[in-house]
Symmetry: C2
Amino acid sequence: MTNGNKQASGEDSLIARYFKPLATDAGAFALDDDAAILKAQGEDIVVTTDAIVEGVHFLPDDPPDTIARKALRVNLSDLAAKGAAPAGFVLTLALREVDGGWLAAFARGLGEDAQSFACPLLGGDTVSTPGPLTVSITAFGRVGEGKMVRRSGASAGDHIMVTGTIGDAALGLDVLKGGAVAAALTGDPTGKELLVGRYRVPQPRSTLARAVRAHASAAMDVSDGLAGDLTKLCAASGVSATIDAPLVPVSAVAAGLVSRGAVTLETLICGGDDYELLCTVSEPRRSAFAEEARRAGVALTAIGMVTAGTGAPRFLDGEGGEIRLTRLSYSHF
Amino acid sequence: MTNGNKQASGEDSLIARYFKPLATDAGAFALDDDAAILKAQGEDIVVTTDAIVEGVHFLPDDPPDTIARKALRVNLSDLAAKGAAPAGFVLTLALREVDGGWLAAFARGLGEDAQSFACPLLGGDTVSTPGPLTVSITAFGRVGEGKMVRRSGASAGDHIMVTGTIGDAALGLDVLKGGAVAAALTGDPTGKELLVGRYRVPQPRSTLARAVRAHASAAMDVSDGLAGDLTKLCAASGVSATIDAPLVPVSAVAAGLVSRGAVTLETLICGGDDYELLCTVSEPRRSAFAEEARRAGVALTAIGMVTAGTGAPRFLDGEGGEIRLTRLSYSHF
């Protein structure tokens, strides 16, 4: 993503107009060069990349500022899960056409989030595509040398904790698609709005990154469904887990839908797009972690324990019976 | 791009099968985590990102290994132009479907290039798309602190130099599209093959990176056409330029097409996809730069001079007349 052409091409002028104001870091060279510079400042650079595709991760008529926010936030969520402080990002935008109003709103949303999460635009690429709008972001964070929190550090006896509430985003997508949840919430516009908001604009738990780094034995963000992502964390750590399903934190609107039989608990724990943090923490560190989360203003709930073995995690209902999950998580293929 | 799910999803198993072998760097954690670690090793990290889209940057029936190589090489070309040594890359692959044979060939080409250019896969993301195949790569390089070669360092009196030959790739695209070049080369399969190869698999000038860093006052890679890219470099440096067009290095097959009137010189200097380096170098450093290029085995040709002023660069024909260019370079929009 470069600019500086006196006889600016369409590509160059759209970059100058919409994205240059976001390139506030000195290493971005005002998007005026072929590459950016990222200073490590004596720390490790954490690199993560996530793309969102129109019709897959967001809907064609989602507001452009929410598309931009989601694209950045899914990456910020990964950085937080790894205990890293945001350092910047590069953006690849594949567009069918240049629509000034759309781009202005997209850039405004992106710029606001870049500022509020202290994660400046460093560079990027804009390309034309005949296909769906695709936003690909690679984000960078900094963490003390060797201090990135891995998926692989969980030990038997660790507590399993999640932030926020689980399942709202999957319900929000159903609302947007006019599915069963939309029907069940016909008289509840506020409930629908809450769920849709959770789907469109995830809340990365960046304020918890420091506490995750200090206390978590393992962590990842929940992006493809709690059940599937916990399975991945357990596999990476060589452990298993038991989850007390009634402890999984859900929003009031989601709880209402479950109690009315409109959706099952499985829908919530296997749905995608939560972008909450899943952490394991040893008993001695649990209270300090909870205290830091409280101070950071992030809800943190213990939902089960890491156990020895390599079997799939077990989700138990209120009577101690195992809930059989038919589909652990979202997969693109 | 992560793996580690015992009950692997389609996405996870395709990553494990095809891409894990490419993740040779310790910081990639065998693609088993949400993020990678990049060590700065006391240097600056250079970040560049470029995406290629089916039907725009490559053709649907291009061999998959060449698509992979091009995706990585266009980024390696940027790193070389900035004087940086490759450090690794992340890949975002937007696929319509999982085709094992296609993916195996893609991963093989990518892996061979990653190894030969010492640029290991650090991580990535695979997403499904209903649209064209899109390959987005963010690549990282290392360069001494403050030593990245900018576009903005050219001064009046500097020599302007380019590597390799200019214009072949644009002709190769015309061959693949069955255009005028294809017709003019009907009896010359070798010539067609050479041009198509230049379009499909660019040759990043990575071996010249050290010399660029040591000697060039400004540099960029030629990706959107020599004329347009030189215009950008001049604008970033606040200078102008005069190019002796007959000095612009062209391949024998391109020269033949020009002399037969099948294409014009303008086609060559305004065509895209060259991925050669455009450098400016002061008179005192010129011979040392040329000598290092010779030792690196990279053809380097002086084509003109940087001049004072802010006018567009002038391209002069053999008689000193100015060649009027109607379209400076490729633009996506």
